[in-house]
């Protein structure tokens, strides 16, 4: 499992993908942070995190698109699947590699807040609570991207559909306020990845949210494993 994890991390940085991801993510996050706080003479970071959610919709697929589709196309997965490694550890290793890069870059992007602390007193609970919250949302995004990558051997198709699905998940929570039926609203609230993130933005540390995002990640990792098990049966 460690071997696969190491290989994934290695491949992010011998191909341009890792660098492209980091460049886009850090550049955009710095711009957004400047525009929403310094530029506005505000210490309120909620707008920053909200916009970052949309940035993730673009950048997370960069991380996840190749995880399985490339292996499938180059037939290298045959090496993994005939090695004495279980499918579960293969999938988890790949997920963790993508998540490590995501989480690492997010933590480093916290340098964006240094100017805020230099010139004002932001509420650390809200800022870092939101960082944790957004990391949880990201973990679910990475899991969804991982799953979609296992469905196709075309990287571009994987990336575009991941973006599409993530966008859909965010969009429904904004549409939700226009729906009158309580029943449908409560279902959409439940599906909506965005809804639970709101609490962090208000500085509330919601433990059920941790459970929620962890479950979403687990469900999609599980589905990815199922995809591979099913492929062995030649469906």
């Amino acid at each position: 499992m460690l071997a696969i994890y190491k290989r994934e991390m290695h491949s992010y940085f011998v191909t341009p993908i890792g660098f492209v991801y980091l460049a886009i993510f850090w550049a955009v996050s710095a711009c957004v942070c400047t525009l929403t706080t310094l530029h506005e003479f505000s210490i309120d970071t909620s707008m920053y995190f909200l916009i970052m959610l949309f940035v993730f919709i673009i950048v997370v697929p960069i991380l996840t698109m190749k995880l399985f589709s490339e292996e499938r196309k180059l037939k290298t997965e045959q090496m993994l699947m005939t090695a004495p490694v279980s499918i579960t550890s293969m999938v988890v290793a790949k997920y963790l590699a993508a998540f490590t890069l995501f989480a690492g870059s997010l933590v480093i992007s916290c340098v964006n807040f240094i100017p805020l602390y230099l010139y004002a007193k932001p509420q650390s609970a809200i800022v870092f609570g939101s960082v944790i919250g957004i990391m949880l949302v990201g973990s679910a995004f990475v899991a969804i991207g991982t799953f979609i990558s296992s469905l196709t051997e075309n990287q571009l198709a994987a990336a575009v559909s991941t973006t599409g699905i993530l966008l859909f998940l965010l969009a429904i929570s904004f549409v939700n306020r226009y729906i009158d039926t309580y029943f449908i609203r409560s279902i959409i609230d439940w599906i909506s990845i965005f809804q639970r993130f709101q609490a962090f933005n208000y500085g509330i540390f919601d433990f059920t949210a941790i459970l929620y995002y962890a479950s979403i990640s687990a469900i999609f990792i599980f589905l990815t494993i199922r995809v591979y098990e099913r492929r062995r049966w030649g469906a």
Binding site: A3, S11, L74, T76, T82, A83
Partner: protein, 321 residues
Amino acid sequence: MIKIENLVKRYGNNFALDDISFTVEKGEIVGFLGPNGAGKSTCMNILTGYLSSTSGVASVDGIDVLENPLKAKKLIGYLPEQPPLYLDMTVEEYLNFAYELKSCTLNRKKHLKEICEVVKITDVYKRVIKNLSKGYKQRVGIAQALVGNPQVIIFDEPTIGLDPKQIIEVRNLIRNLGKSHTVILSTHILPEVQAVCDRIVIINKGKIIANEKTENITRAIRDNRRFNIKIAGPQREVLAMLKSKQGIAYAEVLAEREEDAYTYLVESDPGIDIRKILFYTLAERGWPIMGLEAVGMNLEDIFIRLVDATANKKTSKRIIK
């Protein structure tokens, strides 16, 4: 060492493998022969745990591949049809990855160095796989299968895409591996199995149509029953004479090579040497022999006949024996 029992692989109504059974003893080199799409790769993929069978059992050293995949996979080194190479890695990184992936316990440096020497990739050890030639890529693929020194090595078309010199090198390599490992290799090149394997399993449309020692198959090739004979004389009369002669099972005109001299293909009845008979008879008639050459039945002939005779098991036995 390897046991395959009643293996069936079905895709919808399509049988990729239809009730296949065979065993491979320890230290044997077995050649898996069949046309494209016969089920060779499917069988190997099941044996290595990449695919699951619809029914039937595949086991390595008594360990069922389906029930205990991790343990069984540890015993197998596999080179798939397309070598599973990570093109962005160097050979060194790649082999180290294979080493870690198989959670190998041998001395890493020494083991990898030995493998590189065996497959002759030491001089490209530090290079990126993407930039290697096809022959080197294939050899890196073989090296990957050897990591961990598995007891069973499975090669799916190992010489495909190599130049003639490399093919000979790879064959020698496989023969050497066979001294200390159990080897299965698949190919559709007939002389290849003849050169390398102890036993040949011929497979067509998902069924085994022959499972014989290589000697038995080569004996059929050595049998001098067929000759190309060039005779100067009137074509029609000569052919009629050949056909009516006792001891000759079959005769046909091949081509006119020289003026008035035709080449005929003659096949004798089993156990009869017709060369003397032909000499005396033709001398008597005043038709000189301009040339005589034995035509061995090659593996291609055997193979085509076996494939045609799949429906009738008895004929296939008769052709080989």
